[in-house]
Amino acid sequence: MSELFLILFFPLVGFLINGLWGSRLQEKSCALIGCAFPLLSLFLLTYKTAVSDFYGVSILFTWVSFENLTIDFALKLDHLSLLMSFIVLGIGSLIHIYSTKYMHGDQSFARYFSYLNLFLFFMLLLVLANNLLVMFIGWEGVGLASYLLIGFWYKENENASSGAKAFIVNRIGDIGFLLGIFILAFHFQTINFDEINRAASTANASATMINLSALFLFIGACGKSAQLPLHVWLPDAMTGPTPVSALIHAATMVTAGIYMIVRLHPLYMQATAVLPLIAVIGTLTALLGALVATVQSDIKRVLAYSTVSQLGYMFAALGVGAFYPAMLHLFTHAFFKATLFLSAGAIIHALHGEQDIYKMGGLAKKMPWNMVAFLLGSLCLAGVPLTSGFISKEAILMHTYSHSHSYSQTLTILLLITAALTAFYISKTFFLVFLPSKNGSEKPLHAIAFAMSLPVIALAILSIVVGLFHIPAFMENYLNLAKSITIKEEAHILIPALSLSLSAFAIAIAYLITVKQIKIVPKILEQKFYFDHLYEKVLLSTLRAFCKRVLATIFEVKIIEAAIWSMRDLVLFSSRRVTLLTNGQIQWYVLLILMALSLLMVWWFYV
């Protein structure tokens, strides 16, 4: 059982070595250490699962024990967390190998690898947690690691500020998460997952408490997985190195929210009031993400917004109670989005940092392998049949369609539209980048090392393979999550037909647009629905102005200081008055005595 902690602590050891002695070692050994430890834990994980069936909970120590609540630092391995840790470690190691070459020559190379290993440690902690607190520690740790990695090139001010923005938006979500933990701790007197799930399904759990805790946990998930109100940080997080975006902002970190909800799905089954909300927010985010992605010019921002919309898809699935399709989509999305990001990274690396797709062109012949990987990735994303993306997307659409609620029909229509839009913007990007065009730059391309293209190709193959060989069916009974929807029979034909026709139509339009170089950019999309404006100009500046003007000046100075200074002046004024009493004339003193005497005499007799 203690191997579980070993798996967890290997990346931590990597972080410590690189962190403390990184600057002394040269680049090669840093890279070696950086990649070795994740691979080691991946190998240990596969060896253990293959050899002995060592699922179950292992407790390290009790973190705290009050009368009615004991929280212990425990890890748990079951099918769900095994799957997630495979994703994390698998994609993580590939990205480590990829970034050895990508970050080649960067002078704080060791620092980069230490942060990556730190991220892996916290992500594993989050995935393998047995109770909400350990998950929260992983949750915040992952936010911290993403803050460090986004602001990795801290020389430019806006990198640091976008890192800070990511961390702050995550913290807003985390406050919700904390509230959820407290409500659960108060109501069920425990925060272990299985105890909560068991207690939630019993009768005496009060509906309001369950709904409240589900809502707040969902707010936490929104913060982390960039759903509608709190999604602003993900596009800005692209200022970090591309492997970072691939690992953190595509495959692993952003999926934490979905994993949490799937982990607590019995609780969410009972939370009948919250599920529709999740579904609606999910769909809206999906739609908004897709819409904005269509007008993005920076290749990484296109992929960022597509991640936002795909996450929206997953949350919509969760909203309608289709937990398994959501996990499936998460699984497939992790692979093909990682492929897209890595190949985009390779492209940027080749074009010496050029990220604007309108300035790229004609890379098909120059980078054939990359083109194939990008093509496969975008096919999955667009949901073309026979790809893994198609299978998971169809599963979600079918479940939303056959969901018994009144609004589920509208949801399905919206999701179909987003599917079409996704197909449109990904194919537009593909055509713009790879089809020969005049504005492509003729500079000699930066050589792409083999170590960079290997992971890209591997991921591309994986994203296709995952779809075939009825792996989804195997996974369904492997995860045995609760199923509450029976799919209507007509859905099997209607949904695939509709989505196919729509995406084909979208790809055609995309081709037309790239050929004609038509560039129509509606204002509202341009401004990303004014969300950034809302946060930056409206919320933050009013808060700062409020604190500065109202609190700092009016309250602090005008009221409190003024009160103190007025007391001081009163004392000084009275002390001046009192000292005037002794004005030096003797006769005044004698007069004072007689006056006081007579006054007291009068008071004496009339009292």
């Binding site: 000292t579 004005n583 030096g584 004339q585 003797i586 007689l594």
Partner: protein, 100 residues
């Protein structure tokens, strides 16, 4: 009203005149004289008391007051001499530098 009350109110009147004189006069010497006057006024009251109560306490005390006032005035006048030598003036208003 019989003799004793007359003596009593007479003495009281003299004391009050003495005190008022101290306040109003400008010349230091006259202030001292008025204080002497008020002290003697008190003697009258004391004597009136001893007449009323037929015992000699009041008389003894008035006798002692004579001694005390004499001593006080003696020293006071000597000090006045010193002041005149130094400050060449007896006006009270000049003796008011120490203040605040």
């Amino acid at each position: 009203m019989n003799q004793v009350e007359l003596l009593f109110y007479g003495g009281l009147l003299i004391v009050i005149i003495g005190l008022l004189g101290v306040i109003s006069r400008k010349n230091l010497l006259s202030i001292l004289m008025f204080q002497e006057l008020s002290l003697n006024g008190v003697n009258l009251v004391l004597v009136a008391g001893s007449i009323l109560h037929h015992n000699y306490h009041g008389a003894i005390l008035s006798f002692i007051t004579f001694i005390v006032t004499a001593a006080e005035m003696a020293i006071a006048i000597l000090i006045l001499l010193l002041l005149i030598k130094k400050r060449k003036t007896l006006d009270v208003t000049f003796y008011s530098e120490l203040k605040g």
